[in-house]
Amino acid sequence: MNTLQPIKTVTGRAVFLPGNDIDTDRIIPARFLKCVTFDGLGEHLFRDERFTEEGTPKQHPLNEPRYLGATILLSGSNFGCGSSREHAPQALYRYGIRAIVTISVAEIFFGNSTTLGLPCVQASAGEIHRLARLVESDPTLKLTLDLEALTISFGDDSISVELPEDARKAFVTGRWDPIADLLEGTAETEVTAANLPYLSG
């Protein structure tokens, strides 16, 4: 039942969102979680950072026309901390983000993103700031994240990035959504459960 396509590269323009510890309440405020589907979450991405309560746009990178259409998000450390809400990576994905490059990323967010086919790779603070400066001076600059080589290339330059090997492998082999693999382990799951008294009793 595995119908996923391998994700080996992501190419696109980038936008830099400065700051560390950008939590999932900021990415998608809780009031937008009152839904039974993920449809339409993209338009509420960073709602309270991007708009006043009256709906007037604020100064925010995602509101700047020159970054419209960017698919690669650059940010600081511990990105996506806080709540486990998958609504956060869902909102980013539905907005159009296809890769996230940060100094570090919160674990639940990382797992949620991976399962959606949204790679979160890590780079040093220095390299991210260098990319941010380049993108700011030329927002049309195309970056290519290569998940096989673990690099981001741009023009004739490139930097190296990190991604845990299990996630990297999952992307490049088209197994980033684990459901098919998990279903294949059904018989073994039953054996493991039978050996646990609280599940077999």
Binding site: D23, A30, F38, E53, N78, G82, I108, D181, L199
Partner: protein, 475 residues
Amino acid sequence: MSKPKNLFEKVWESHAVRTLPNGQTQLLVGTHLIHEVTSPQAFGMLRDLGLPVKMPERTYATVDHIVPTDTHAEPFEDPLADEMIRELRKNCEAYGITLFDLPGGQQGIVHMVGPEQGITQPGTTVACGDSHTSTHGAFGAVAFGIGTSQVRDVLATQTLAMTKLKVRRIEVDGELCPGVFAKDVILHIIRLLGVKGGLGYAYEYGGEVFDRMSMEERMTVCNMSIEGGARCGYVNPDETTFAYLNGRPYAPSSEAWDEAVERWRAIASDPGCTYDDVVRIQARDIAPTVTWGINPGQAIFINERVPTVEGSAPGEREAVAEALEHMKLTPGTPIRGTRVDVAFLGSCTNARLSDFTEVARYLEGHRVDPRVKAIAVPGSQLVKAACEERGIDQVFRKAGFEWREAGCSMCLAMNPDKLIGDQLCASSSNRNFKGRQGSPTGRTVLMSPVMVAAAAVTGEISDARTVFGVRGVEA
């Protein structure tokens, strides 16, 4: 004699099903908890895939995030909230999942219901689509939050694709000073290790302070592990754990009980086992702690001053400036004396019977400052009933607190309980993120329940030891 192991390793090994093609572990989830916010899409995905629920008897549900707390009467005023509770009921009914629903008297915040029912047990794996699932680690379970696609994975296969965590033991030795609570201990730990200090780790809390703590206090500590970046946190099971579980509806009984206790004893970390890291903290160094910023690591002792940008480490300055701007606090001034608009006593961190009992001890004879809106929100219907049976609700009502129905309430404001404008809230919850309590400009100061009560009665952030005359402490 096999190599000594820590609890996390033992639980991981006994629940590891197999190695997945990408190298991750397929991990069996013994206990799955669900609620109305992060499960509907998972059931939708399940239906799209045409899959059944693998072990419906190992998933338990309740409704907590969206329930109003002024009244549980239905239909809810908010049609979106009403749709969510109906969706949860429909899914539980369709798949044969036990639901602790509003009319049953056992509804509550999902992290209260699991322990209350005795569903949360030592040596088990617990997953829930909520980051505060780490709470269940208080029982010596490996318990962690998951996303909605993972809720689907557990429903469909009772397993998850996981990467093994490292283990850091955090030892707090000695004795806590009077007026210092479990909440202060965990806020202090997060302050010391940082909000990303726990990335890649499970936290094992050990040492005399945790040994002496009640289960409810341990839950407060484990609850906030995720705020320190650790996906799960646990305390090794001991007599306190067993005494709490004994007689609970889903706990083993009669002969099975003795066997279970024997197993639970053996699951605790072995003497001489190793950890990837060890941190030692002296209990006497911990004072009542409050946050001043916009993440739980931005915390100070009640007698300290709000940090200044210049006085902060160069790498922290932008974050400090951003936090100060949001919080509208004056750098370099004492945090004590800051005006408070709302006092919130509730959440999966601090809304258990012992929290209300402790506060009631001090609150008797005091009145909430007329400028403050104070709400007390029990974490579960059982806690609410127990408080009412003991007359604790009367102490709160007489003091001027609103006594509410059970739910998550103003911790994340998915129900009508929200801050208005830039109100400042003294809160016993777990997150002080921008906008967390329902108003984008609202301000949250995290603290222990007794400190929330002190803020409520004085109308400002105060040292509860002074306000309530805690013995053994010089003001």
